[in-house]
Symmetry: C2
Subunit: 325 residues, 2 copies
């Protein structure tokens, strides 16, 4: 049995816990959280440990710590802290900082004899893999990543900060027809606006403010200004009834030529009813790989690009060659 600890118990932590129940070779040993009383009420007889800034020093019999905090403030600090005492898996997803975070984790994990798999999930993670192999199999090809339809937390949060907004949920939606265009073999340079649109559901009690709120959202630089954005006002009840799931997904497409002029199009797609539950499932499979890597003597930081993917599977190499090849 691989002994797992969960660090941080929000939606992703719950997703990891659910995934562990479907993987009989692993067991949840402890949840580390800043809200121990609340979490203890929720999880019943699972051990709950209070998470503080010295979280890594706690003495728990865990093989792999799965870090489920946020990428902005939690993981960059908790990653190197926990990598001193445990092998870790995380879904650090600030794309621009991954190379730097990898270096920091690599140094710490090596120094303390641990394995840390970083930036796992679907993007970064599976999508990164598909981008890399698409480029390797089709040199000179064009790659496209489309996200959605699905909820973006960052964009929802940004809209929620506009004065007068009580709640907001943003859906990223690939523009219809554009994916079909790539599938049919054309490889244009799309603008951001041509690839995705944004739909924001907003709860704002004061109807006289709606037009101002709409304008502030659609004009928001970085988040909305570069896209066609639709703002729809709904009630709090509608928000809870229709928008409390976290669906997401997307497409990675690679389109290139081989030989004379033969078009080859590769496409990976995921349709997720629950983004945090799927990401949690990926992290759990990576925990298995981290455990095996460490058993095999590996040390340091790894992304999904750096590990043989057979290690993610509960089945032996022989079984995989017999039944999955």
């Amino acid at each position: 049995m691989i002994k797992i600890g969960i660090v941080g118990y929000g939606n992703l932590g719950r997703g990891v816990r659910g995934a562990l129940e479907r993987n009989p070779d692993m067991e949840l040993v402890a949840i580390l959280t800043r809200r121990p009383v609340e979490v203890k009420n929720e999880v019943g007889d699972i051990t709950v440990v209070t998470l503080d800034d010295q979280g890594a020093s706690v003495d728990i019999p865990v093989d792999i710590m799965i870090l489920c905090g946020g990428s902005k403030e939690d993981t960059p600090q908790q990653g190197p802290l926990f990598a001193r005492s445990f092998s870790t898996v995380d879904s650090f997803d600030t794309h621009a900082d991954i190379a730097d975070y990898f270096q920091r984790m690599d140094v710490t994990a090596r120094e303390h004899g641990n394995v840390s798999i970083i930036s796992a999930g679907w993007d970064p993670g599976i999508f990164s893999l598909e981008r890399v192999v698409g480029d390797a199999f089709l040199p000179g090809s064009k790659g496209y990543t489309f996200w959605g339809p699905g909820v973006s937390q960052g964009h929802s949060d940004a809209a929620r900060k506009v004065t007068g907004v009580a709640d907001a949920r943003q859906y990223t939606v690939p523009v219809e027809g554009v994916i079909e265009q790539v599938r049919r073999g054309s490889t244009p340079d799309f603008t951001k606006r041509e690839m995705h649109k944004r739909v924001v559901y907003v709860v704002a009690p004061d109807v006289s403010e709606h037009e101002r709120i709409r304008k502030e959202i659609v004009g928001m630089p970085n988040y909305y200004a570069d896209y066609d954005t639709e703002v729809l006002f709904i009630t709090e009840e509608e928000m809870q009834k229709d928008h409390s799931a976290y669906p997401h997904g997307g497409f990675v497409m690679t389109s290139g030529l081989t030989g004379g002029n033969n078009r080859q199009v590769l496409e990976y797609r995921c349709q997720l009813s629950s983004n945090p539950e799927f990401t949690g499932s990926v992290l759990v499979a990576c925990a298995r790989a981290a455990y095996r890597l460490k058993q095999n003597g590996a040390r340091g930081a790894f992304t999904l690009l750096d590990i043989p993917l057979g290690l993610l599977s509960p089945h032996s190499g022989d079984a995989l060659r017999g039944s999955f090849m």
Copy 2:
């Protein structure tokens, strides 16, 4: 520069040669063939070496031999022969025999200090990977593989053996609507007939024989009897004009539940205008990985499940983390 040899120069060998031209870190050093005069005429100033049953003993400065013969008669014999003197890459695709072939290659490659990547291509190969990670991320899920639309050599050959048939080309076609059904979240057990149909274009000069030929083809056990098969008679000119390319492709789909009852659907699709050119491109990327594995001290046989996929890429780990994650 990684020095490459091609063993066997049919459609796949040509595909490898074309792919090498798009990968500036590799160079084609020699082609080994049983038809040296013919091949020399075709390839100009590339070194052509006569391939005989002692093929592996030839003294050529090659880092990786890419085996491009057939999986029925060539590769099972040439693989272990060449693995004694060279690191190798092949696309051995007799699915039922892969586990056994792996063992034989592993023993020989280890004994002689080489690396052999076996069964690379899109299926087996990329599709195998997608089946394995789909199953690892979604334990208890259902996996589906659909092939086509595309030409199947084995089925074309079988139809060509019917008396009175001058030429035949078989297209495997996924049944319309079935893929959409899986995408929408249903997970039935399909029969072979429900998943794929077969369309055979046949050249048979004697029109009075057409009905007998049609019946013989559609009733052929293993190849056609389990499918709805359409037989279309065409002229030799039409065959050459419309059916001389080798398009193929397919879909790997994994559909499973997480948490309470959230449906997650993963889908990998490739649409290939030229099957041998794409397979050749995959083999060339694998040659890069085999070279690096050997440099890093690895020995023995590997499938795509056993190697970190970053090794396929011409870019460094740092560059991949910076630009592809």
